[in-house]
Every structure is written in structure tokens, then in C-alpha cells.
């Protein structure tokens, strides 16, 4: 008998614990509070800034690109790691765009990027979170992460998000810049992940 079968058999041989637990609810009680008329961008801004992240609200993609360039300039950044934005969109900057052929040896090269630029799958107002299902390295490798979010992607609560199916190999819920309080409970940002997280929010006015 394999270890797998031994474990499963043993678990099945015993009397089932907690048989009186009710079935899963149809609707779960959400964790965070939000007023029905509360403005989601205002709430998201408040939460993200409390975490030391920042947000800029613009009203179209073009304005978003202008804002991204302003952030890059502000940080004197040149190299941008991105899956979602191509070189032609940011001609003045070096877009590092790994693909399926990128070898592991080139990691040292990717590591030189100062900024990771991504889109998101969703954003959560009450927690100031970004949900990313595509790019991984751009969200975690460089010291700065810029995320472009469309207003329609902004949800009130994590409970409002449609969870991923099996085919979504990786999901990351990112809430603010990387942080630690391991040393004497002092807050330090940018431990392994980015020190700066910027959101460029595109409103759906047009």
C-alpha cells in the first residue's frame, strides 16, 4: 500500500468528525464594511495611501501613459519590466519583455529593471488590493510596481470578485508595498518586493 492509500484509508476508517456542521452558505457574510453609496475610488485611494501606496486618476489610456512616464521620470527610471505594455507605447524607455523563449540566465538582466508595469484582473476598494493573474516577475522583482486599473475592474469587496477557475495557474492579491516589522516591530517597506506601488486608475468617463 502506498503512503497515499495509507493516509486516505486511515482518515476514512475513523468516525467522521463534525458531522453536524451546516452546509456552506449560498451567500457568505462579507468581512469588510462599506456604505451602499460610498465612492469606490475614494475608498480605494484612502486604503492604498494608508498602506503607503499611491494612486493617480486619469480619464483615458493615453493620459495613463503620460502619467506612467511622469512616474518613471520622477524615479529617474529607464528600464521597465512588462508583459502587458509594448515598446511602442513607451518609446522613450527600455521595455524589457520576457517571453516564452527567455532563458533563466537572462534573470540577471531582468533584475536590472527599475519598474514593473502591469495591468490587473481586479482591484478591491475596501482593502486597497490589486488582483493580478498574469504577470508575476513585474509585480515582485523591481523596486517599483505600477499597475494600470480600469474603473470597471474596481470592486467594493474581495467577496465581489469572481474567484479563479482551475486554469488560472497563478493569482496574487497584492495589498500595498512589500513590508516587514520583524526587527523590533519597526515598519520597513520594500523588503523583497517593491518599495513603491502606484496605481494609475482610468475612469470610464468616455
Amino acid at each position: 500500500m502506498t503512503s497515499r492509500d495509507k493516509i486516505l484509508t486511515k482518515l476514512r476508517q475513523t468516525r467522521r468528525p463534525f458531522e453536524d456542521i451546516p452546509p456552506a452558505p449560498n451567500v457568505y457574510l462579507p468581512v469588510t464594511q462599506i456604505q451602499p453609496d460610498e465612492d469606490l475610488i475614494t475608498r480605494f485611494t484612502h486604503e492604498l495611501r494608508a498602506l503607503d501606496g499611491d494612486i493617480f486618476v486619469v480619464n483615458n489610456e493615453k493620459a495613463a501613459l503620460t502619467k506612467i512616464q511622469a512616474i518613471l521620470k520622477n524615479h529617474q527610471a529607464q528600464r521597465v519590466l512588462s508583459w502587458d505594455f509594448t515598446q511602442d507605447l513607451l518609446p522613450d524607455y527600455q521595455i524589457i519583455q520576457p517571453d516564452i523563449h527567455t532563458s533563466r540566465e537572462s534573470l540577471q538582466e531582468l533584475e536590472k529593471a527599475e519598474v514593473g508595469l502591469t495591468r490587473v484582473a481586479a482591484a478591491i476598494a475596501t482593502t486597497g488590493s490589486l488582483i493580478v493573474t498574469g504577470a508575476r516577475l513585474p509585480t515582485i522583482l523591481p523596486p517599483i510596481h505600477i499597475a494600470v486599473v480600469h474603473q470597471q475592474q474596481l470592486l467594493a469587496r474581495l467577496e465581489d470578485w469572481q474567484p479563479p477557475n482551475r486554469e488560472t495557474v497563478n493569482v496574487c492579491i497584492i495589498t500595498g508595498p512589500s513590508r516587514t516589522a520583524d526587527i523590533e516591530k519597526q515598519l520597513v517597506l520594500g523588503v523583497h518586493g517593491p518599495r513603491h506601488v502606484y496605481v494609475v486608475m482610468i475612469t470610464s468617463s468616455e
Binding site: 502506498t2 503512503s3 495509507k6 493516509i7 486516505l8 482518515l11 476514512r12 475513523t14 467522521r16 468528525p17 463534525f18 456542521i21 452546509p23 456552506a24 457568505y28 457574510l29 468581512v31 464594511q33 520576457p98 516564452i100 527567455t102 532563458s103 533563466r104 537572462s106 540577471q108 533584475e111 482593502t127 486597497g128 488590493s129 516577475l137 509585480t139 515582485i140 522583482l141 474581495l158 467577496e159 470578485w161 474567484p163 482551475r166 486554469e167 488560472t168 495557474v169 497563478n170 493569482v171 496574487c172 492579491i173 497584492i174 495589498t175 500595498g176 512589500s178 513590508r179 516587514t180 516589522a181 520583524d182 526587527i183 523590533e184 519597526q186 520597513v188 523588503v191 523583497h192 518586493g193
Partner: protein
């Protein structure tokens, strides 16, 4: 083996260590404030705890089916699932994977299970390097120390001590602030990441319906460990499984609110398969560890398996607040650790732990899944007494005999009155009154009073 004498001795040292007391006080009081604020601002604290508890208990009720469901999902997506009966088999699986992929250098994000199976020493014996990447755990590893808290491994160390250790043993240049020390660690560990050929993580949860293994970190080391190296091995206890994402969404928020007073930790990372491109590991292994859990599952202590390792019971416990984590001498310290440790390592090997509690119930109140810790501690005490409590049984039998015989009773009371006149107990019981007063017997007994007044 942790004896009562050893426990008492190290507790006494801890209580008299003023630096440690300051550190514990600072860490636990902040954690408690953070947890209370964050739990109170939710929609309905009591109802959410019940919802979270039910989710965990459904996970345990359906444990074998959910494990199979997760396994099938991961395999369908190209990941591999291995099962380990005990620590030896878990380590053997890791070493086999290392051999198969010719892995030499690993990075590890914070995980209690890998401490439980002592993975680092197994890898070291096999000549494989492994570096801890959680800042606290990295400091612990460099200093050859042990973590003293589930979520705050080096809360017992001062900044100065950490600086000295990293300068002496890791070649760190002088660093003034916590920020400087962290910057050094970032650079140092980033290089380790880029050179690593495999990454090891634990898992806070496994979501059965899609097979996703969740790692929750604030520093981002969990996400880097699963993203940079080409091979990712997750080692998770079989009890960590929950049925659905909906369950997870409640649980993860209560976990982070209870652990660190955050609405969410910075990186909640979910993975169920290898990555097709450079962006993530091309090989994904999940090792499901039993190591005594199926025994606990079949016992009256099954509820202890619902623990989500937030550390709230440690922070709120008056005993933990007095002695810190090291005195428990276990990977799992504090109130929940005092249940898990004797169950995993044998009751006789951890016999003082169930008694290291005032049964005040603070742990149960703080627990986000409402585990009845005091009740289980009490039952463990009973078990231990039944196993080794002859002296107690003889004493109680003697007492029973004495109170049924008036002459013996009267003599006993007269003797007790004299022996306890200084509010202490005589030898060999004086240990009990070394640190507390014994309420002396009244000079006039009720019997005497009755005879005087009602004759």
C-alpha cells in the same frame, strides 16, 4: 523531551530577562491592539468567526475527499502531488526531487511544516544549500537560533543583537537602522534568489476545488520563491485543506486581521500548477504531510487541526506574555502549541505544556476559528494524569478515606492548621507556595463554632 524541571527552569530565566520582557510586551501588545481593532471593524465579528470556523470544520469533515479533489486538480494542470506519512518520507521526497533535477541551491519562504520536518538539516546532510528568505527566519538561520513566535520569529532579539549577529556571521557592513539591516538582507537574498535552482514554501491553505496552494507573506518572499527558481516544492500538512474559494476569502481575511492586524497581508499568492514560461517555476510539486495528523484526526483533539496559525492565542495568552516562545521548546509554541506539540511528539515528551496555562480562556476568545483550546488543555491534563498520575490518585484516595472517618478528619484539620500557619505549605509541597500564598486554615473551625453556639 521537555521535562517539568526544564520548563520551570527556562521559564524562570525568561521571566527574569528584562530585555526579553520588554520585547514580548512590545510585540504582543501591538499585535493584540491590531487584532482587536481589525476584528471589531468587520461587519459582524461573531458571525464571521462562525463562518470561518464552519469552513475549517467542513474541510476536516470531508478531509479525504477534499485531498483527492485537490490532487486531481493539480495533476490535471501538470503539477505533481506526493504523500508523506512522516518527516522522513517528506524529506526523502524533497531529496529525490533534488536528485532528479540536480538541484543544489534552494531558497525557502517561511513555513512551520519545514521546521517540523527539519528539512534544513536533512538537506545539509545531503550537501544541498538552503537559505531562509523571510527576514526574521534569515536572522534566525544566520544566528543558529530558534524562532520564538509563529509570525514574529525574532521578536525576542534587539536590533543591536541582530546587527551584531549579521556583522559577525554574515559579513554585513555596519548598519544603523532596521531599514539599513533590511536593505542589506534584500540585496543579499536577492542574489540567493537569482542563483537558486529550487524554491520551497509551506502553504497557509489548499483550496480543494481548484488545487491552489496559498502562501501569505508581507515581504514578498513567498511570491519570489514561487516565481524565480525553476522548481517549486510546496510542503503542506494534510489538515490545511478547505473546500472552496468562498471559504478561503473569509478565512484569509480573518487570518491576516488576527495575525498582524492587517486587512490583508501584502502578498496572498495562489499556485496550482507549473508555469509554461520563465514567469514562475516550470516544475511544481506538492508534498502532503501526515506526520501524526491522521492520528489527531481520529482522536478527541481533532478540533486542534482547524488551527490556521495566526498566532493570536500566543499574543493574548498571559503565560506566553510572561515567558515568550522559547520556553515551550517546540516549533509550535503558545496555547495551541501546548495541544499540538504533545499530540505530534508524544504526550510524555511535552508533559508540562498542557499545564502551562491558567485556563483563562483568552486564547479561545482571540481565535478566529473559535477553537476550544482551554477545554482540550484540560482533557490533555486528564490524559497525562491517567497515564502517570499515581501520586495524585493515591493522594485523593487517602483524602477520601480521611474525610469519611471523623477521628482522622479532626486530627488532619488540627495538623493542617499548624503546618500552614505561615501561609506556606510544608515540605515536600513548599514548591507550590514558593511563588504564591497559601490561604491558611481558620483558627476556629466550623465544627468548633457549631459546638460552641448550638449545643
Amino acid at each position: 523531551m521537555l521535562t517539568t524541571d526544564k520548563f520551570r527552569q527556562s521559564a524562570r530565566v525568561a521571566i527574569n530577562d528584562s530585555q526579553l520582557q520588554t520585547a514580548i510586551q512590545r510585540a504582543t501588545s501591538r499585535a493584540n491592539e491590531g487584532r482587536e481593532t481589525m476584528m471589531d471593524e468587520t461587519t459582524n465579528r461573531a458571525a464571521l468567526r462562525q463562518q470561518a470556523r464552519d469552513a475549517r470544520l467542513r474541510g476536516l469533515r470531508d478531509l479525504p475527499e477534499l485531498l483527492e479533489q485537490a490532487e486531481a486538480a493539480i495533476q490535471a494542470m501538470g503539477g505533481k502531488v506526493l504523500w508523506a506519512l512522516d518527516t522522513a518520507e517528506a524529506n526523502k521526497h524533497v531529496l529525490n526531487i533534488c536528485r532528479q533535477h540536480k538541484l543544489k541551491r534552494g531558497v525557502k519562504s517561511k513555513s512551520m511544516v519545514t521546521e517540523e520536518i527539519q528539512l534544513l538539516s536533512a538537506l545539509k546532510t545531503a550537501g544541498i544549500e538552503m537559505i531562509e528568505t523571510d527576514l526574521g527566519e534569515f536572522i534566525v538561520q544566520v544566528s543558529g537560533d530558534h524562532p520564538s513566535h509563529i509570525t514574529m520569529p525574532v521578536m525576542h532579539l534587539t536590533k543591536e543583537r541582530i546587527r551584531d549577529v549579521l556583522m559577525e556571521k554574515d559579513g554585513m557592513p555596519y548598519a544603523e537602522t532596521a531599514e539599513d539591516i533590511t536593505a542589506y538582507a534584500r540585496q543579499r537574498l536577492r542574489q540567493a534568489y537569482l542563483e537558486a535552482d529550487f524554491g520551497v514554501t509551506g502553504g497557509n491553505f489548499i483550496i480543494a476545488e481548484t488545487g491552489h496552494v496559498i502562501t501569505v507573506t508581507n515581504e514578498g518572499n513567498g511570491r519570489l520563491t514561487t516565481t524565480i527558481p525553476p522548481v517549486h516544492i510546496a510542503i503542506v500538512g494534510i489538515e490545511k485543506i478547505i473546500p472552496t474559494w468562498a471559504d478561503f476569502i473569509t478565512l484569509v481575511q480573518l487570518l491576516t486581521r488576527s495575525a498582524t492586524g492587517q486587512r490583508l497581508s501584502v502578498y496572498v499568492n495562489a499556485i496550482n500548477a507549473p508555469s509554461p514560461a520563465i514567469d514562475g517555476a516550470q516544475h511544481f510539486y506538492l508534498i502532503l504531510l501526515d506526520n501524526g495528523r491522521s492520528d489527531i484526526y481520529a482522536s478527541e483533539y481533532v478540533e486542534s487541526l482547524a488551527c490556521i496559525r495566526c498566532g493570536a492565542c500566543l499574543n493574548t495568552c498571559p503565560v506566553y506574555q510572561s515567558i515568550g516562545g522559547h520556553v515551550y521548546d517546540s516549533v509550535y509554541p503558545g496555547p495551541i502549541g501546548s495541544i499540538i506539540t504533545p499530540l505530534l511528539y508524544g504526550k510524555k515528551n511535552a508533559s508540562p505544556l498542557p499545564f502551562a496555562s491558567s485556563l483563562c480562556g483568552a486564547c479561545k476568545s482571540a481565535c478566529p476559528v473559535d477553537i476550544n483550546i482551554p477545554d482540550m488543555l484540560l482533557r490533555l491534563r486528564q490524559d497525562l494524569q491517567a497515564e502517570q498520575g499515581n501520586l495524585w490518585r493515591i493522594g485523593m484516595a487517602g483524602f477520601g478515606f480521611g474525610i469519611r472517618h471523623p477521628l482522622l478528619y479532626r486530627t488532619g484539620v488540627a495538623l493542617a492548621k499548624r503546618l500552614t500557619s505561615k501561609n506556606t505549605l510544608p515540605r515536600p509541597f513548599q514548591g507550590w507556595t514558593d511563588e504564591r500564598d497559601f490561604p491558611g486554615f481558620a483558627q476556629q473551625t466550623f465544627r468548633d463554632w457549631w459546638q460552641k453556639h448550638h449545643k
